[in-house]
Point group: C2
Chain length 335, copies 2
Amino acid sequence: MPELRKDPLHERWVIVSLERGRRPSELSSPRRVDPCPFCPGNEHLTPPEIAADREPGSLPNEPGWHVRVFPNKFPALCIEGDLRWRKRDLFDQMEGVGAHEVIVETPHHDLRTSEMPEEQLQRVIRMYRHRVADLYRDPRLQYVLVFKNCGPQAGASLQHPHSQVIATPVVPHEVQEELDSSRRYYQFTGRCLYCDLIEREVERGERLVYRDEHFVAVTAFAARFPFETWIFPRAHRACFAQISEEEVAGLAHVLRTVWERLDWIADRPPYNYLIHTAPRERDCMLERSFHWHLELIPRITRTAGFEWGTGFFINPISPEEAAGLLRGDGGRASR
Amino acid sequence: MPELRKDPLHERWVIVSLERGRRPSELSSPRRVDPCPFCPGNEHLTPPEIAADREPGSLPNEPGWHVRVFPNKFPALCIEGDLRWRKRDLFDQMEGVGAHEVIVETPHHDLRTSEMPEEQLQRVIRMYRHRVADLYRDPRLQYVLVFKNCGPQAGASLQHPHSQVIATPVVPHEVQEELDSSRRYYQFTGRCLYCDLIEREVERGERLVYRDEHFVAVTAFAARFPFETWIFPRAHRACFAQISEEEVAGLAHVLRTVWERLDWIADRPPYNYLIHTAPRERDCMLERSFHWHLELIPRITRTAGFEWGTGFFINPISPEEAAGLLRGDGGRASR
């Protein structure tokens, strides 16, 4: 059983997950898997599916799917069990209860997000919505994170395009910080911090990468990584599961547009993306103050001792220059 | 001029440092430098030295040194200038004032910490002490971090053994969290959290890697990374610059001991280490509640979307198992 532990010196949770463990010398290399368990025809190599977007008439755990979801074979957290939160001396720990799912995004083994038809991206986004809504029905799960690792340097152990979902029994620190700062801002101003940020970025234009009726993409003002880009829905909603059908199409379009540019500029970099949504338990003020969004992190630079020791990051490209390159106008502010 | 920016959604500072910038396609590969600017005889290839531990009679910026310090040629922060902290709309920023130095640890191009004679490690530690004390004389610098990156995967751009020092005009978030948690603990109990942690770890023994009269090394209870190890001085002192001559010898010995074991178990992994010391401005309670320490982070696993999205970490080896391997007794608690 995995275990959740809280650091006595920091607001930091760690999952100690021995089921994933291998010998120390093996930890740094990706698992070798042949044949690919995510390809059609190899469904028996994965745990039984939880959900799928399928051709009419096709059967579960057989080919005929467009998008397929199953539990991670090497889960960081396990769905069975009770939390049993306990503290002994200075040490907080609980059982590693939660969910860890894999969403295979396409039957094709070798497609980047930038190469996926928008229709297929829409199917993937609808599956994200379904999984977030479904996992929030379990009262033990306080937070659901949808994320993607692409490329071994970004932590992907398999090449076949896939996203992951991890649901945790506590609200993660990184998310809690966003909830707290947007709540404080709301209490002070009566407005959503994200809505104000979007308005300011569209007005100033210097970090704007893309905008249309439904979405805005900007490089982050204090980007940790070169080309770090945040995608915001223009309509204020706290939870990603509330995304409308129109927005599903809009998100597919902005994702595909930003990725095409990024792949062109940075030569198909490894990347992570993740969706920050509201936690399970929400009061009225959280609904008004928090605004779901997607963060895209190209993994071009490496983190080192300074970053781990301070929480500071060093970014060698200014967010304004990065936005100019992503817009393709060499840095002139688009308004 | 580099720039410090604060994220409007998180307590997170970023250094945007264009002097370090190269074309996007070049950012991921280490700089190629030939000949090595850190080798004896090539002193003219570095900025003029700030300090050195030298043979009697040898001249600055010439061979004859054991340890040599100079400003980083590609500094993340610059020593000249005023902060000019300003806020416009939602965006906090200031000039990137600070210090960024390189400490070349040995004239030998190709030595790991585990292979360095303890006498040489002592010279390095004395230089750390000198640089921390010296930089804290500048009232603009609020925090000094000494750290080391070893191996390209750990962010080192040059192979020749070297550490770095970065002094920042604000106290980093990661350090502030430690200051806050130890202050709260002190207010509640009247004791130092670190002293209590050391006592508990020595008593329990399951995460103990090494101990002697002056130092204790333990794997962290909530280790983010496999084999993450913390080294604590047993004598309570807030600032690393207060390290005694006896402790210099003790720290050299514990460093060398832990590294030898780590290199053996994990096959000479890339790693970072860093020293957390007290900030420049201290009141009486900070002196009593904070306890300097060294954190060692082997870079065996990779961080991915889940870690960036949550601040959680997934560790595939339990800290108790890691401590057993580092002790060489296969996991039996040593007391």
